[in-house]
Amino acid sequence: MRFFIVLLGLLICRVSLAIPGLSVTEVAPGVFVHISEHHWPDRTNHGEIANIGFIVGEQCVAVIDSGGSPQQGIALRIAIKQTTTKPVCYVINTHVHPDHIYGNSAFKATGVKFVGHHKLARAMATRAPHYLSKADELLDIRVNDDNIIPPNLQVRDSLTLNLGNRELVLTAHPTAHTDNDLSVYDKTTDTFWMADLVFLEHIPVIDGSIKGWISEMERLEKNHYKLVIPGHGRLIKDWPTSLQPQKNYLLQLTSEIKSMIKQGKTLEYAVETVGLAAKANWQLFDEFHRKNVTMAFAELEWDD
């Protein structure tokens, strides 16, 4: 009997030992980021493709995006444990996309609040059935309703969280990358975690509103930040310079599509012809550009 308990103990240990802590870098005092490479989410990378991480205060830790799979969520939890003894008190989801929320279940515990844009729960409700039905086939991960954890702390405009002598200012943005974008500003280090409001290297992906995204960029580029953390791409220390490729790409799409709509061209035609000159500037262009044109066209044809 004792042998079995020892064996069981070993097995349990093995399960948690099997997942190493996620590699994270301290990019500013107390701000830890896992920078991902750019890949189309697939069965090899299991959708673990976004920049995720955490911020440590004197009392507790805020997770910012939990990862693209339950396993990555666990790996992030282990990385936090290896970094600090402080407990996690907040899990902030910057938006609904699976690469940012599928690790949530790893942090479900008493005292942990899940934080999101006030439209995040609705976006989860309408999209999760589709995401969950595809996860096995496309990402080779096992997820169900328990992995979709809607926020129990919702941000309507702005909300300040205190991690213990460290304030994070959360902003719920108007529709831009999605209709539920939430950013996190760390006052202590002047670090702005913008998540998918800004893409570098990886082609920007429109899943909200091209017009809304452009106007949000025009607002944000007026400010200065010491460090900006994008959802996809390297760290930004020259804000707003590194934002310009994304802004130019979206402005170019807008102007080309508007002129096609004016000429009475169809969506099908626009998808084949708009914005192709930008191909060399972006990774994953072939995977996302046509989707961007499609969404932008469907939005812009309601202008005027």
């Binding site: 309408t126 899943d207 169809t266 989707k291």
Partner: protein, 275 residues
Amino acid sequence: MKIRLVIFTLILGFSASVFAEGDEANWDKIIKNQFFAGRSIDETNSVIELDAPYRAEDPAIVPVKVSSKISQTPEKYIKKIWVFVDNNPFPSVGEFDFFPESGKADLAMRVRVNTYSNIRAIAETSDGKLSMSKKFVKASGGCSAPIGADLDEAMKRLGKVKFRLDEGMQAGQPVQAQLMISHPNITGMQMDQMTRFVRKSHFIDQLKVTFNGQPVLNAKIDIAISADPNFRFYFVPDKPGELKAEFSDISCDSPTSRAVCKSGTSYSQQLTVAP
């Protein structure tokens, strides 16, 4: 009840497996019997031809076009076209009635494609014969979902209508019209177990287009039509007049059953045409 249960099980069973090109299971086992029991269908592109992109770049907005290969004459014309996305939770996209007055039974629209699927169009000609054209479409994965991106924006514009006519219109010749309707066309997927949201489907179910009171296009449509329904079709402006679109929406308790539904609002919009 039993049948519904079986269908539900079948749908679940299918969605768990990976759909491959050439997959005809839902068509063979369900759709064909439901809509065309006992009728023979000629698989040919000689009456209509369906075109859709091989990859659904955005599964919420997949452009689909049906081109007619015969002209609309009182003697012989295409009187009806059905469109299906085999592997959608509710496969029927719509049933579209055409008339000799339509001029040309061409039809373009945007649909939702949930997963790898055949999209097929079946035409019935005035002699009662059925012909079918189909195309396999690979659904896109990633962060996309087959719903609209900005529900609130779509709700704000609800009911707004836009027409557009091709240039170079000539009296008596078929001209292409585009009809755009702002409507979120909510599919009604319910997730009450994980959030407090239970949303009924809310979509445009009936559309009637006339020119000077003569029928151009009648459609019975469903949730597979993308948010902000967008149609291109033909009509013949033989003299100046009014191109009129009348449509109504409906709300149903279940995304996949039309047993419990409640009629919604009726809308109407017209365009003065002077060829």
